[in-house]
Symmetry: none
Subunit: 231 residues, 2 copies
Amino acid sequence: MAGEHLLIVDDEDNLRSMLAAALRHNGFVVSAACNGREALKAMGGPPHPDLVVLDVMMPDLDGFEVCRRMRADGDGTPVLFLTARDSITDKVRGLTLGGDDYLQKPFSLEELVARANAILRRVGQAAGDRSVLSYHDLEMDDDAHRVTRGDRELSLSPTEYNLLRYLLVNQGRVVSKAQVLDHVWQYDYGGDGGIVETYIGYLRKKVDTTAPRLITTVRGVGYTLRVSPAP
Amino acid sequence: MAGEHLLIVDDEDNLRSMLAAALRHNGFVVSAACNGREALKAMGGPPHPDLVVLDVMMPDLDGFEVCRRMRADGDGTPVLFLTARDSITDKVRGLTLGGDDYLQKPFSLEELVARANAILRRVGQAAGDRSVLSYHDLEMDDDAHRVTRGDRELSLSPTEYNLLRYLLVNQGRVVSKAQVLDHVWQYDYGGDGGIVETYIGYLRKKVDTTAPRLITTVRGVGYTLRVSPAP
DNA sequence: GCGGATTCTCGGACAACTCTCAACAACGGG
DNA sequence: CCCGTTGTTGAGAGTTGTCCGAGAATCCGC
């Protein structure tokens, strides 16, 4: 993955800068635009993005219109749409056709990163990475949504799956409960870190049934993947 | 399949760009033209397409006329006509004799892709792709329109067949209900994902009568083909 | 047209999942 | 070693996603 270029288009300042920061942190080169016209202008000149993250609900031109005009110019750059929860699905449907995709607000940052990578993987041969993450004898295939420890296949709930992916992506680094909350849970989630403890517990019950234990607590700091002997 | 070249001719902007995106996503190299004259111009110079997807109803020259002039120039490139539901089928039928084919609007994208591949296969352009898809002991011969599980032959309704083909084409990947809806149902279908659940149910009743079960639900994500033990 | 196959909608049953809370265990500094 | 802090665990309430069957509407071949 050699720094793919993303263009983020959203009129909410907070969200836009939050997304930009998160995506930069994940190795992308990020530009931003705060409305449809700016977006189209940015698409005109270099650097041309490899993927556009496009809010549907915007004051001047909505996301669909921006996309339509891009396509009319012969621009086939893939688009990841951001839609409100109960937005009219008719219009949203038909978007997953050309390798485009969409995400319902509110989403989690990890989900955004995962989708972005999936699109880039699928569309270009860019980021020729396979979609497989692994640590020790633990493997996760993101396309097939399959997780195995050794030969055993694990059955994880959606949240458990996302949490484990976050740990895998950040292997070698200790992540705090606050970080987990920010990246794995929806960005408007109101609760405290207690729920992370609960889900770490769920994960351990499924992942760490065999020695060595992989999910390690760093007291006072957070969690990380590390080989450690059974207690 | 080494990127066969398609020319799409349709005057509706939305539909044309949607088809172009979908076909590109399926590995074709796609050009587009928005009326009959442009189409003929595009047929003149390189790159010469291996197949023309040609809307019948167009303002200047209709699809029949475009095809007639191509043939008059000694151009035998196969044509896949797109026709309105109740257009005069006699005239269309006569054209399918020479290896051409037609599709009634509105169609599903999978159908378009399948027809395009079938024509290219028949004409001999396509790299020797067999038309057989398989997973585990499940086989689908697209040319013969035959599906077998082990030795047992399955009798599927048209929609069931298309759904199963979509699962087979995307084996190793989880497909969401929205993706299924976009690709298997007609592009103007207005309903929600509930119908996918129903048809998955129908399919399971025919395909997964014997262990192991192949059609697997990934809760909160979608469906995929995966060997999994009976419940 | 008639009858069977097919498509599609709907709502209830059920299971899986999310999240909260509170009791309990482990740790570490004084 | 004791006590406050931090992490772990289990039970349970409420929500969500999926499956299934019944039935209306439509299509198609005979």
